[in-house]
Each structure stands twice: as C-alpha cells, then as structure tokens.
C-alpha cells in the first residue's frame, strides 16, 4: 500500500482503481433503487395528485352547474307563482264584480217587489177605505137626511136603494164632467 499512497501523494490526479470501481458500483446500486422504487412512487403520487386536483375542479364545476340549474328552476318557479297569483287575483276581481252585479240586480228586483207589494197594499187599503167610506157616508147621509126630513128612513133596503141611486147619479155626473174635461 505504501508506494501507491506515496505516488498518489506526489500526483493527486492518480486514481485508485478500487475506489473507481466502488464509485461506479455505488452509483449503479443507487440508480437501481431510484429506478425501481423511488421514481415510480413519486411519479405515481404526482399523477394521483394531479388527478385529484383536476377531479376536484371537475366536481366543483359540476356543483356550480347544479346550483345554477337549481337557481334557474327556482326563478322559473317564482315567475310561475307570480303569474298564477296574478291570474287568481284577476279571476277574484272578475268574480267579485259579477257577484256585485248580481247582488245589485237582486236588490233592484227586491226593491221593485217591495214597492209593487206596497202599491198593491195601498190600493187594497184605498179600496177598503173607499168601500168603508161609502158605507159610512151612506149611513151618515141617511142619518142626516132622516134627521132633516124627520122621517124614518130606517128601512135599510129602501135607504140603501136611495143612497145607491144617489151615488150612481154622483158618479155619472163626475163621469160626464171628467169626459167633458178630457175633451
């Protein structure tokens, strides 16, 4: 060993073949480990990570699209609901107007009916009053006349006949007067 070391010391560029072989062997072993284990593992991890990130982006995009679709649907539903509400309101308004018209009509009819009834009632009362008045007037006039003439005119049939004739004369008189007025 001595002489080699001395020569190596004299010229530091002189290689020791044994060291050279160990270096080459060491490099080869290390490269085997790198090719066999290290690189495939790292490359696999890199690829998986890239895929995971890209997959995540795709997933996020899908979620975004889904959210957009949901929002569109919601908007559409909102528009539909508004239209529906408007339609219902219009219908209600129309229906209300119709009901109002019907009620008015009914009220007018009722009013007409009531007034007709009242008129009929009044007419009947007037008739009754007229009949009663005629009777009363007859009686009163008879009483008055009998008192005036001092003659009993109590005989109903006769007096009635007299009163009727009198009234008929009156009516005929008033009829001719009204006919003359009409002319």
């Amino acid at each position: 060993m001595g002489s080699a070391v001395i020569i190596a010391a004299e010229n530091p560029l002189f290689p020791n073949i044994w060291e050279l072989l160990v270096t080459v062997a060491g490099f080869a072993v290390l490269m085997y480990i790198v090719i066999k284990f290290v690189m495939p593992a790292f490359e696999k991890t890199f690829a998986e990570r890239t895929e995971a990130i890209e997959g995540g982006i795709a997933k996020a995009e899908a979620a975004q699209a889904e959210a957009n679709a949901a929002r569109e649907e919601y908007k559409q539903q909102l528009v539909d609901a508004r239209t529906e509400a408007n339609r219902i309101r219009e219908e209600a308004r129309a229906e209300g107007a119709q009901i109002l018209a019907e009620l008015k009509e009914k009220a007018v009819a009722e009013a007409n009916r009531i007034s007709a009834q009242a008129e009929a009632q009044i007419e009947a009362d007037r008739q009754a009053a007229a009949v009663s008045l005629r009777a009363d007037v007859g009686t009163l006039a008879t009483d008055l006349a009998s008192r005036i003439v001092g003659e009993s005119l109590a005989d109903d049939a006769r007096s009635a006949r007299v009163v009727d004739r009198f009234l008929a004369d009156l009516e005929a008189q008033s009829a001719t007067q009204s006919a003359g007025a009409a002319k």
Binding site: F27, V38, A41
Partner: protein
C-alpha cells in the same frame, strides 16, 4: 498539477508541518494484500466506506420518503418530493425538455444526490472527507456520463452523430479544417476531463483549506507562544468562513455537475439542431 502536489515537508522556524494531499488519503481501514503497482490498492479505505454510506443514506431516505405516496405529503415525503421535483423539473425538464427527458431523470437524480451527499460528508465532523476529493470517484462518475451522452447521441442519430457533433452547421468549408479538430478536442477530449476535474479539484482544494486551517490552529494553540495563540483566534474565524464557503461550493458543484451532464445529454439528443 505539480503545484497541487504540495511538498510533503515544509519546515518553518517553529517547525510547522502543513498537511499535504497525502493527508486526504487515510490509511486503509482493512488493508489486505499488497498494491499491484500504482493503480490498484486492494485495501478498503475510508473513502470507499463513505461512498457506500452515501448509497445507504440516499437510498433509504428516498425509499422511505417515496413509499407512502400520500396525496397530502408528510414532512419527509414533502422533502423527498421537493428534492426529486427539483432535479426532475429544474434540471431534467428545463434543460433536456421535450418528451424524452423522463428517461434521463434517474441518471441526473442519482448523480445529483450521490455527489451532493458525498460532498456534504466533507462538512460533517468526524466524516470530514468529501469523497470526490479522491480523483478516482470523480473520474468514475464523469466517465459514466461521458459514455451515456455518447451512447444517447449514437442511438438517436446513428453513426451520423459523430459527424453532427464535430461539424458545426453554417461554417464555410475552408474553415472546417480548423473548426473540426477544435470541436473534436473540445467535445470528446476536454469535456470529460473538465467535467471530472472541476468536481475533484474544488473538493480537494476545499478539503485542503479546511485541513490546513485546522492544523494551523492546532499548531498555534499548542505552540506556547501567546502571540501565536492570539493569532490562532483569527485563523479560527477565517477557518469558519472558509468552511461555510466550502459548504456552499459542495452544493454548488453537485448542481453544476448535474447541470452540465444534462446539457451534454441535451446536446447529444439535439445534435442536428446545433
């Protein structure tokens, strides 16, 4: 080169003996058999032990760091991925590029961390020997890449690669006799030499500086001369600064070596474009 072989004995008045390159070569741990000439010393030395240690350390670290392969990495996996991604992207992808670079990533990755860890050994107390300060290792790793890029060129372009790599395009024919020999020398002779010597020389020089400072501090402290001891403090400060610089160079040289290897491979791949 002769200057690098520092004289083994430089005697000063106080008898200071600076360390020499010889001190970068420790006696074998397991000497067995006599060396056969100057080339082959069969003994097993500290430098070889450190090469093996580096293989174990790097292999174990990256094996464990890459094994789990979690999508959200732990600390160790993150560190391993960052280291691997640095060589893969910053050196492999950026220099070689294209679709082919993945084929060369294992070469570059292995070389970078093999050199890096072995260099850093020079800055680790007790270990304190950059493996590539021994020329054999630097020659070996440069030779691996020398063979690799020539093989890449031959495989890609066939025998035409030899012409492509030495005959630059767009050069007038009458300059060819001048250019072609220069290209042959620079590409095929000088390139592997500079590739290996750059690494080896920086590691050896840095190691020598730290050794020199260390032995100087020891000598000054033990000299018994109060002035020398005082000066030793300054040397200590300088030594720490040099140690830091050396640590930077250790990392830098690993990067430079790998970067150049990638550039050579890229040159061989795209020889027709140059």
């Amino acid at each position: 080169m002769i200057a690098l072989a520092l004289p083994a004995q430089t005697t000063t008045e106080e008898g200071f003996v600076p360390p020499s390159v010889e001190d970068a070569h420790h006696p074998d741990i397991l000497p067995w058999g006599d060396p056969y000439g100057v080339w082959f010393d069969p003994g097993f030395g500290k430098q070889m032990l450190m090469i093996i240690l580096s293989v174990i350390l790097i292999g174990t670290f990256f094996y464990i760091a890459s094994r789990k392969g979690q999508l959200v990495p732990g600390k160790m996996q993150f560190l391993g991925e960052a280291a691997y991604g640095f060589v893969r992207n910053s050196i492999g992808k950026d220099i070689i590029g294209g679709r082919d670079f993945m084929k060369y990533v294992p070469w570059l990755f292995t070389a970078f961390f093999f050199i890096l860890v072995n260099n850093i050994f020079g800055a680790v107390p007790v270990l304190q020997l950059p493996s590539f300060s021994h020329p054999a290792s630097a020659y070996a790793i440069a030779a691996i890449f020398y063979i690799l890029w020539i093989a890449v060129g031959l495989k890609k372009h066939g025998l035409r690669y030899l012409k492509l790599s030495v005959v630059p395009s767009g050069v007038p024919w009458y300059i060819m006799p001048l250019v072609v020999p220069i290209e042959i020398i620079s590409n095929f002779l000088v390139r592997p030499v500079t590739h290996s010597l750059r690494l080896f020389a920086t590691m050896l020089a840095g190691h020598l500086i730290v050794m020199l400072a260390g032995s100087a501090i020891e000598f000054m402290t033990l000299s018994g001369n109060i002035l020398l001891q005082g000066t030793g403090v300054l040397v200590l400060g300088g030594a720490v600064a040099m140690y830091m610089l050396e640590a930077l160079i250790m990392v830098l040289q690993a990067y430079v070596f790998t970067l150049l290897a990638a550039i050579y491979i890229e040159g061989a791949l795209h020889a027709d474009a140059h």
